[in-house]
């Protein structure tokens, strides 16, 4: 059905997207919690910073990533020296770009759910002996589960579709950074390659449909069907 080159693209896209949202999820939750529950100076600035990748054209985000995480960028050079992580022209760069683009969506979704958590339940948990961390883990987090599920769906879909930041920051290297959108873009440049474009687009759609169905299933298992979490 798929050619082996297409399989490679699919596998790479999945790897990049899954790593991106797995790494982003805890950060997104922490940011959402901070923004929902704390009042601190610079809060609006942090909020704006999180939203930045949504507002800027992806190509600019990619360019800024290049400046910061490129081999000569302040973060990139440190990451390479201390952690041995290279972003340029590497699938980790594609994952970083996808993560940055998915972050604002994930933060918003989780924040909405945290805002909806009844703080009286958290108080009740504390009188029962649960410290702040336990309250978070046993009450806040599970009650915010609908937001987490939404964040996963949005983040995954956004990662699967991310193009501009990836190609600008991590380039379009087959097997490394040529994810589905980059493959589609490459095909789109050529007259008459609509067939290839359609194949890859259908794969994208199928992937995200699978993710949607899986998430609806998870949500239904994880909630009573009305968005109220059971776990």
């Amino acid at each position: 059905m798929l050619t082996s080159a297409e399989w490679d693209i699919v596998a790479l896209s999945l790897k990049v997207s899954l790593v991106a949202i797995a790494v982003t999820l805890p950060l997104a939750f922490a940011l959402a919690w901070l923004l929902a529950r704390r009042r601190f100076p610079g809060m609006v600035l942090l909020d704006a910073l999180v939203h930045l990748p949504l507002v800027l054209p992806p190509v600019v985000t990619g360019y800024l990533l290049l400046l910061a995480f490129g081999p000569q960028g302040p973060v990139g050079s440190i990451a390479q020296r201390l952690l041995g992580i290279v972003f340029s022209f590497h699938w980790t760069g594609a994952a970083l770009a996808a993560a940055v683009m998915a972050l604002p969506l994930m933060v918003r979704a989780i924040r909405l759910s945290i805002d909806a958590v009844d703080t009286r339940l958290e108080s009740a948990a504390r009188t029962l002996g649960a410290g702040r961390w336990d309250v978070f883990r046993r009450i806040t987090l599970p009650l915010a589960a609908p937001g987490v599920f939404a964040a996963l769906v949005l983040g995954f879909a956004r990662s699967i579709g991310e193009f501009g930041a990836t190609i600008t920051f991590a380039s379009n290297i087959p097997g490394e950074t040529r994810t589905l959108p980059l493959g589609i873009y490459t095909a789109l440049q050529v007259p008459g390659a609509e067939g290839e474009v359609a194949r890859l687009a259908i794969i994208s759609i199928a992937l995200s449909l699978a993710a949607l169905v899986a998430s609806e299933w998870l949500v239904r298992r994880g909630t009573d069907g009305k968005g109220r979490p059971v776990l």
Partner: protein, 242 residues
């Protein structure tokens, strides 16, 4: 044009390859100084513009970076017959970051792989983007393609490839001479031999769905000696015109 929404957008609509930006903006200014309504210049990848024309968008003039897309449109009778011409030509150059001390020039069998020193060669995408296809053809012709095929950093377009070099993400890159000319942060190491790749031509043509009364005149202006002078200032050649 059926629906020019007239008044506000008096000039013809020109869809042009993004790499022609500076030259065409200058030309449009010069044209407007002669008392004409300034054309509306829309810059995008040649493929995007061509697809819009295919979808029936009422553009007046199309300037492509790529003869393939012009052929495609011509084959579908979407162009005004007889209006196709070569507007400009370009050359391919090897570039490096401004501070680089690399000394290497494109010639048959040149030591490109070594010169990369483990880094990657920034090019436009070699299968789809015109500049990348020319680059690949040249590298194949010079006999070094096999050594560098898996050492490429293919970018979305020529400008992005240029940025990769300017930002030091890639030690070397291949771009058009017109791009490298004005770019800060990069230097030209050498030009690719003209015979090493197919001639680089930027064709233009009137779009059948258009029909702005000034479109033909602006086309003529671009092809005139005055237009050629402007293109030359931006690093394009015009010699190859028929």
């Amino acid at each position: 044009a059926p629906s020019q929404e007239g008044d506000k957008r008096a000039g013809p609509i020109v869809l042009a390859a993004a790499s022609m930006h500076d030259a065409l903006e200058d030309a449009a200014d010069a044209w407007a100084r002669q008392g004409h309504a300034r054309p509306a210049l829309s810059f995008a990848a040649s493929s995007a513009a061509a697809r819009q024309i295919e979808a029936g968008a009422p553009a007046d003039l199309f300037v492509s970076a790529d003869e393939e897309w012009m052929d495609e449109l011509e084959g579908r009778d979407l162009l005004v017959e007889g209006s196709r011409a070569v507007l400009a030509t370009n050359r391919l150059v090897l570039i490096a970051p401004a501070g680089s001390n690399a000394e290497i020039a494109p010639e048959p069998g040149f030591a490109l792989a070594e010169a990369l020193e483990g880094g990657r060669l920034a090019v436009a995408e070699t299968e789809s983007v015109p500049a990348g296809r020319y680059a690949k053809a040249a590298l194949v012709d010079l006999g070094v393609w096999n050594e560098v095929a898996d050492r490429l950093a293919p970018a979305e377009n020529v400008r992005a490839a240029l940025q990769l070099v300017a930002r030091g993400a890639a030690p070397l890159g291949i771009t058009y001479a017109s791009d490298a000319l004005a770019a800060p942060g990069v230097k030209v190491l050498g030009e690719f031999p003209a015979g090493s790749h197919p001639p680089i031509r930027y064709p233009l043509a009137l779009v059948a769905a258009g029909g702005h009364p000034q479109a033909g005149a602006f086309r003529g202006f671009l092809l005139s000696p005055q237009g050629a002078a402007i293109l030359a200032r931006h690093g394009f050649g015009t010699a190859e015109r028929d």
